[in-house]
């Protein structure tokens, strides 16, 4: 009878193994961080609080992301605000919380130098991510970047998307639209060329 059990058991074990093997698919993913090693805020030239600007709490300014990241809806790149964009407002607004940080802007304006922001969000060089296509498809910035408007300190660890984890993109692209087809193409050459 032990024999019978084994004869029955062997295939079922193999089958189970296979199932587990295949199911493992979605979960196991290489969560490669994208090269950001410096701890924020020390990494950033100016301690820029996103929540202060874009947050909707009392005393926060509830700005639209695209006020500063001006090209997000018409370009592949979201765009980084020019120094003048910052200064445009901060001429008038000394910054109640920590004016010394705000004051740094002026030095850049005077030296006519760009602010060397540290890059937080980056897709691999071989991936093409057209921002405007996603914005115009009705995605919220937060869906990839996380609840930036609530973060004082931005950190690549906080972002919603899986860094170099392609599966994270695919899962969204594969969502069926009303016709039941995938809502976005999963053709490789859409992003990789």
């Amino acid at each position: 009878m032990r024999k019978q059990w084994l004869i029955g058991g062997l295939p079922s074990v193999l089958a189970l193994g296979l199932v587990a093997f295949v199911q493992g698919g979605g979960q196991e993913g290489e969560q490669v961080a994208d090269g950001l090693t410096v701890d924020y805020p020390s990494g950033q030239p100016i301690a820029f609080p996103h929540n202060q600007h874009a947050g909707s709490e009392a005393g926060q300014n509830n700005m639209d992301c695209m006020f500063c990241h001006y090209s997000a809806e018409r370009s592949v790149d979201a765009g980084i605000p020019s120094v003048n964009t910052c200064w445009g407002c901060h001429q008038a607004i000394p910054g109640a919380n920590n004016p010394e940080e705000v004051a740094k802007i002026l030095t850049y304006v005077q030296n006519n130098e760009p602010i060397p922001w540290v890059r937080i969000y980056k897709v691999a060089d071989h991936v093409h991510f057209p921002h405007m296509r996603h914005i115009n498809a009705g995605l919220e910035c937060q869906q990839c970047h996380g609840e930036v408007q609530e973060m004082e300190v931005l950190n690549s660890r906080d972002k919603a998307w899986g860094g170099n984890n392609m599966g994270w993109c695919i899962e969204c692209h594969r969502q069926p639209d009303e016709t039941g087809k995938p809502q976005a193409s999963t053709d490789c050459a859409v992003c990789h060329y």
């Binding site: 199911q23 493992g24 698919g25 979605g26 196991e28 993913g29 290489e30 392609m166 599966g167 695919i170």
Partner: protein, 457 residues
């Protein structure tokens, strides 16, 4: 009641000079005793060669695959040639142990252990070459179907993925087969060995005791493994041949390839067995077990396969001409008289002409002659693969894109190193495992009887 045994004259026995079972153990296990200087010298050489091997490979990884002589149009060269060569070598082992076992060939017992060991190590060598030749080794694992965050799977339509499956399967099965067959002999070694060696054998003999029950299942399992291995042997080199035959490259795209490659593999494999057992026989004094009978049989196998291979060459050339297909014709004309004519003629000489000598019994029975011929065949078979790979690629469909390939030093180092890598393992084998199948030898020896044999009841 009792056993009915027919009287067998000693002359008809496989090993007339072997008196009894104990002698078998004694002779075979003597090989395992402390090695001499020669063995250490050889081992040293092999280790040095392995150094060259991995040195060259490391250099290639550091610089890029460009350190090879490969180019476009010749994207495959010495690496794939050597890969196919070693896979071919790997074939006779399982052929002798499995197929000849199933056909109950009487001469296999004393060579199949060495042949199987050769098989395992040859696959271990061959398996390295696909890794050596890829451009991005650090991504080579993408050929293995494993669940990943990209939801991507390998392309099961690609012959290379077939290769991955065929080679791994072949390695697993032949290694298992090899080990399984060795267990009883390891037990025998265990029972004579002392000290550290005894410990070692105790572990790897898995506590084999040769009880009736163990022998019973062992025999069956062995038969089934043989039955599984037999088609596998044929399939593996067919799959390897399809790496070429599945393409549209003139000179590769031929339906004859699978049988042609399998025959070639057996051809080269048997030759390599001869190359290996001749010195082994001398060094370990196994003349009584490796008799001219065995070499004669292997020689005949070589002769047969060499004829098949030769036929394949001829039919390829004939059909190229007969098809009237311009591109095919150019390809084969170029093969025989083009830039690589020398390789082709080395191939034809070593694989087609030299083996003709095997028609003569005197040569078949001369061990030195066999040794020399087998070396020729090894060389010839390497060049066969070189010819197939390179000459087909360098003159393809697009005349304006024709090119020339010159192997680089790095490639040569890796080719040389692969032989050392193989030799290293084989040397270890000769010292650690009984190089001849003790228990199977006993099977073909007359069992000791108390009553005189003639008297049957």
């Amino acid at each position: 009641m009792g056993i009915a045994t027919d009287p067998t004259p000693r002359g008809a026995l496989a090993h007339p000079d072997v008196e009894n079972y104990d002698e078998v153990n004694r002779d075979v296990l003597r090989a395992l005793e402390t090695p001499g200087k020669g063995w250490w010298a050889l081992l040293g050489l092999m280790v040095a060669g392995i150094g060259v091997f991995f040195g060259a490979w490391g250099w290639q990884l550091y610089k890029g695959i460009g350190v090879s002589g490969l180019n476009s149009p010749v994207g495959w060269g010495v690496y794939i040639t050597t890969f196919v060569f070693w896979v071919g070598i790997a074939h006779s082992g399982t052929l002798i142990s499995a197929i000849l076992f199933l056909f109950r060939a009487p001469w296999r017992q004393s060579i199949y252990r060495a042949a199987e060991a050769m098989t395992v190590f040859a696959v271990m060598t061959a398996g390295l070459f696909p890794l050596i030749h890829v451009g991005r080794l650090w991504h080579a694992y993408w050929l293995i179907p494993y669940p990943n965050s990209r939801f991507l799977w390998p392309n099961f339509k690609s012959p290379l993925v077939w290769d991955v499956f065929a080679i791994t399967t072949y390695f697993t099965v032949s290694a298992t087969f090899f080990y399984l067959g060795t267990i009883p002999d390891i037990a025998a070694a265990r029972d004579r060995a002392t000290g550290l060696r005894k410990k070692f054998y105790q572990v790897i003999s898995l506590g084999w005791r040769g009880t009736d029950q163990q022998w019973h299942h062992f025999g069956k399992a062995y038969i089934f493994l043989a039955a599984l291995a037999a088609p596998l042997v044929l399939s593996v080199h067919s799959v390897v041949s399809w790496d070429f035959a599945m393409t549209i490259v003139p000179g590769w795209h031929a339906t004859i390839f699978a049988p042609y490659f399998v025959a070639g593999a057996i051809f080269s494999g048997v030759a390599m067995v001869i190359t290996l057992v001749v010195p082994m026989r001398k060094i370990f004094g196994l003349e009584a077990y490796l008799t001219t009978k065995h070499f004669d049989a292997m020689a005949k196998l070589c002769l047969l396969t060499s004829l098949i291979v030769l036929y394949a060459y001829m039919s390829e050339f004939f059909l190229a001409w007969y098809s009237g297909e311009e591109i095919e014709r150019t390809a084969f004309w170029n093969r025989a008289f083009g830039d690589y004519w020398w390789a082709t003629w080395i191939m034809l000489t070593c694989n087609g002409l030299v083996p003709i000598m095997l028609w003569f019994k005197r040569i078949r029975h001369s061990i030195p002659a066999m040794f020399v011929i087998s070396i020729f065949i090894n060389i010839g078979m390497w060049f066969e693969r070189y010819v197939i790979v390179v000459t087909s690629l360098h003159h393809e469909y697009e005349p304006f894109a024709w090119g020339i390939y010159r192997p680089s030093v790095t490639e040569m180092c890796i080719l040389f190193g692969s032989f050392c890598w193989f030799g290293f393992w084989f040397l270890l084998f000769t010292r650690l495992l009984p190089p001849i199948a003790i228990q199977e030898l006993k099977e073909v020896m007359p069992a000791p009887m108390r009553r005189p044999r003639t008297e049957a009841h």
